[in-house]
């Protein structure tokens, strides 16, 4: 060695990893500032940093970096969907039939109203249908983070978790089935039109089922050790996300199925309830900052009116379904109304569903994104505030929760 080659060359070029780390730190700080100064949920802070640094604005988090960070998004969303799935108690859904009715009603009314509203705005029927299908799902990430932050617990919390798990399943399955019509529209041929959705649905279910069976098996062998089961679960989630990506099936559906089946097939109760603890915070920050980057401020300014119609129709549909049926499940009317508020946020799942269509038919995805993402900006920023408020008004937060 003759010169000082071991020193870095200037100007310094920060690697992708350093950049992603720095961006997450900025997100963390911004979330804390939102909480401390504005008393708003941290999520809004994370999202705004994502939007501000993303390709739509400062472009620090450019498309290339975003593609690199995609794996973080997938893992974070995978963990969250797994947890959401594991919160769905199928036994309860069977015992309390009104709960299923509530779920079907709020999802169906939401779909119908959004679809009708978009047709009225002269959106094409196929775009309207896919956008309406996406509208059915409530943001699992927002719900879990708000529950986590407020340490919420009670009848409303329980129903919100079960209804969100169900409406996400409905949304993902509906979008997948609508793929058939997309293929038809783009003249992809009958076999693709039929085979693709079937492959996505069955493939995701199979991967989810395999992951769940393995997890229950491992949990039984490991015993009730929280630390060991935690490592096992995170590894299994990585494995499931990776397998879903490799097999080109739906990551969303795979992980939801994984969670639901793991919880509900574990007859001997080997599996401890998931507590991702502080690790969850990391994934929440990552998820929301990256989700923010996929959203664009210009979406909001571009189709402001349409977004508001979309938001209005969606909230109306959900609220109506819930107000009619949730009281029959045993929930008081006031709490039912608050439950409607809790289900309003939309975030990462919607973004990922738009992405999925974009990957298959870019032109279709772009038009769809213009309608959906602008609404998601609104619902991702205001939704968490509404959800937090609802939990507090329902009296289901725990004292000393606001740290």
């Amino acid at each position: 060695m003759t010169s000082l080659d071991f020193l870095p060359t200037f100007p310094l070029v920060p690697g992708d990893l350093a950049l992603i780390g720095a961006i997450l730190l900025v997100g963390l700080v911004s979330g804390e500032l939102f909480r401390r100064l504005l008393r708003l949920p941290r999520i809004s802070g994370y999202l705004l940093v994502g939007i501000a640094l993303g390709p739509g604005a400062l472009d620090l988090l450019d498309r290339e970096l975003l593609a690199t960070a995609r794996v973080v998004l997938d893992v974070a969303l995978g963990l969250i969907l797994y947890e959401l799935g594991s919160r769905l108690d199928l036994g309860w859904v069977r015992r309390n039939r009104w709960l299923l009715m509530t779920s079907v009603a709020e999802s169906a009314l939401c779909f119908a109203l959004v679809y009708a509203a978009l047709l009225w705005l002269a959106v094409s029927p196929l775009h309207a249908a896919v956008a309406a299908a996406i509208a059915m799902g409530s943001a699992p990430s927002v719900l879990l983070l708000v529950i986590h932050d407020e340490r919420a617990e009670g009848a409303l919390t329980e129903q919100a978790l079960n209804l969100t798990a169900l409406n996400n399943i409905f949304a993902v399955v509906a979008v997948t089935m609508l793929l058939a019509y997309m293929h038809l529209e783009y003249q992809a041929g009958v076999h693709i039109m039929l085979l693709h959705p079937v492959y996505l649905l069955l493939g995701s279910l199979a991967v989810g089922y395999a992951a769940a069976a393995l997890t229950v098996l491992f949990a039984g062998w490991l015993g009730k050790r929280e630390d060991l089961q935690f490592v096992m679960l995170v590894s299994m989630v990585l494995l499931a996300v990776g397998s879903a990506l490799a097999l080109r099936v739906s990551v969303l559906l795979t992980l939801l199925a994984f969670g639901v089946l793991a919880r509900n097939r574990d007859q001997r109760r080997c599996l401890l309830p998931v507590e991702f603890g502080p690790a969850a915070q990391f994934f929440f920050v990552a998820l929301f900052v990256l989700t923010g980057a996929y959203l664009e401020w210009k979406d909001l300014t571009l189709v402001g009116g349409a977004a508001l119609v979309y938001v209005g129709a969606r909230v109306a549909g959900k609220l109506l379904g819930i107000l009619v049926f949730a009281p029959l499940t045993g929930l008081r009317l006031r709490k039912a109304a608050l439950l409607g508020l809790v289900l309003t946020p939309m975030a990462a799942v919607a973004v990922v569903l738009v992405q999925m269509t974009t990957e298959i038919y870019p032109a279709f995805g772009a038009e769809l994104g213009a309608i959906v993402l602008s609404a998601v900006v609104v619902l991702a920023l205001l939704g968490p505030v509404a959800a937090q408020l609802a939990f507090r008004l329902a009296g289901e937060t725990r004292q000393g929760a606001a740290r």
Partner: protein
């Protein structure tokens, strides 16, 4: 007129209050859902009563007044079933047991009534730590004097009630080594313990009035005694029992209280005994700590007596004072349990040993509560 007029009631009639645990069905921790569950249950209630308790995770059921055990048991079972049906709608579990094995008291929310908020402010963390679950047995008395006499006479049997009902070995996630850890939470309150050495209702009234003038208490509710008079019902109220794991056991404890009271009154035993109160606290501790295995201090005989033996003798003695055949059967069942060392606490410890998970223990508690059968899983 004093607020403490003793309302006469039919002697040896009986009523029971049970504080129940409301848990979620995911990890079986306590769930703050009393205000959601209460209105649902109230709508379905045929008889008896449901009431909120100090924290949102407790529900109290109360029977009407009964002469015989058979009716009492029937009502307890119907109350249990109504509560269970409504709890299921909200995906909640209901469990007996004197304390939740692993809840963290800092998580508890106070039920929103002025009295509960006042208590929470006065007692601070004690109020939240008071998330423990007891059974109260009311026995009817024809007069205040009779009530005072009976309380003193029954005081000797406080260890017996404790050992028979003990069902709180775990607290805050650990095995306390106690059979009933619940009573330790009660002991922290300044007005706990036993009735002072008053000989009749008039003396008691004087005592109460002075305490009220000193602003120590404002009503009878402020005393947390093990047995206290309840003048507005015309009863004495035995408050030391943990909520048992089944309503059947709760009914049997009531039958024991009822038969014991009748036995004490009709054989003219008891009355104020200063010697007894000298060792009262110590014997009470022994019963909480060791349950049926306790060796009590017998002041009269100046020796130790095995609580198990004394309990078996007592059950035998009071059997002929049972309210009905069903009551006598319940007493026999208790005696059988005492003989084969089958306390609720022992069952809870055994279940924990098998499952090595307190969450599974509570799940089993819910199943036992529902089925009324305290058998070990195969």
């Amino acid at each position: 007129m004093s607020v403490l007029d003793f309302r006469r009631s039919e002697p040896f009639t009986c009523g029971v209050e049970l504080e129940l645990q409301i848990v979620n069905r995911r990890d079986f921790d306590l769930s703050g859902s009393a205000s959601d569950l209460l209105p649902l249950v109230e709508k379905q209630l045929q008889s008896g009563e449901v009431k909120p308790e100090i924290t949102q995770s407790m529900l109290e059921i109360a029977t009407s007044v009964h002469r015989v055990h058979a009716d009492m048991l029937a009502e307890l079972r119907s109350l249990r079933d109504v509560v269970a049906r409504q709890a299921e709608r909200l995906n909640l579990g209901i469990a007996g047991g004197g304390a939740h094995p692993f809840q963290r008291w800092t998580d508890r929310r106070i039920f929103a009534t002025p009295r509960f908020h006042h208590l929470s402010e006065l007692y601070g963390y004690l109020a939240k730590q008071f998330t423990v679950f007891g059974q109260h047995i009311h026995i009817g008395c024809e007069s205040g004097d009779r009530a005072i006499g009976l309380i003193h006479a029954m005081s000797r049997y406080i260890p017996h009630f404790i050992a028979l009902s003990a069902s709180s070995p775990f607290l805050q996630g650990v095995d306390t080594a106690f059979e009933s850890a619940r009573l330790n939470s009660v002991n922290a309150f300044p007005l706990s313990g036993h009735l002072p050495a008053v000989r009749n209702w008039a003396e008691f009234q004087t005592y109460f009035d002075s305490m009220r003038e000193l602003k120590v208490v404002s009503s009878m509710k402020d005393f947390y005694w093990d047995i206290r008079p309840k003048p507005e019902y015309g009863t004495i109220e035995v408050r030391v029992c943990d909520t048992p794991l089944t309503v059947e056991r709760a009914g049997a404890l009531a039958a024991f209280g009822q038969a014991l009271a009748r036995c004490l009154v009709e054989t003219g035993t008891g009355g104020l005994d200063a010697d007894l109160y000298r060792v009262y606290g110590y014997n009470r501790f022994l019963a909480c700590r060791f349950g049926l295995e306790a060796e009590l201090v017998d002041v009269e005989r100046r020796e130790k007596v095995a609580l198990r033996d004394d309990l078996l003798d007592t059950l035998q003695l009071v059997r002929r004072f049972a309210s009905d055949a069903s009551g006598a059967e319940a007493l026999d069942q208790l005696a059988e349990d005492v003989q084969r060392r089958g306390s609720d606490s022992a069952w809870l410890r055994e279940t924990y040993r098998r499952t090595s998970s307190l969450s599974d223990v509570v799940r089993s508690q819910c199943e036992v509560w529902q089925s009324g059968l305290r058998v070990l899983e195969p």
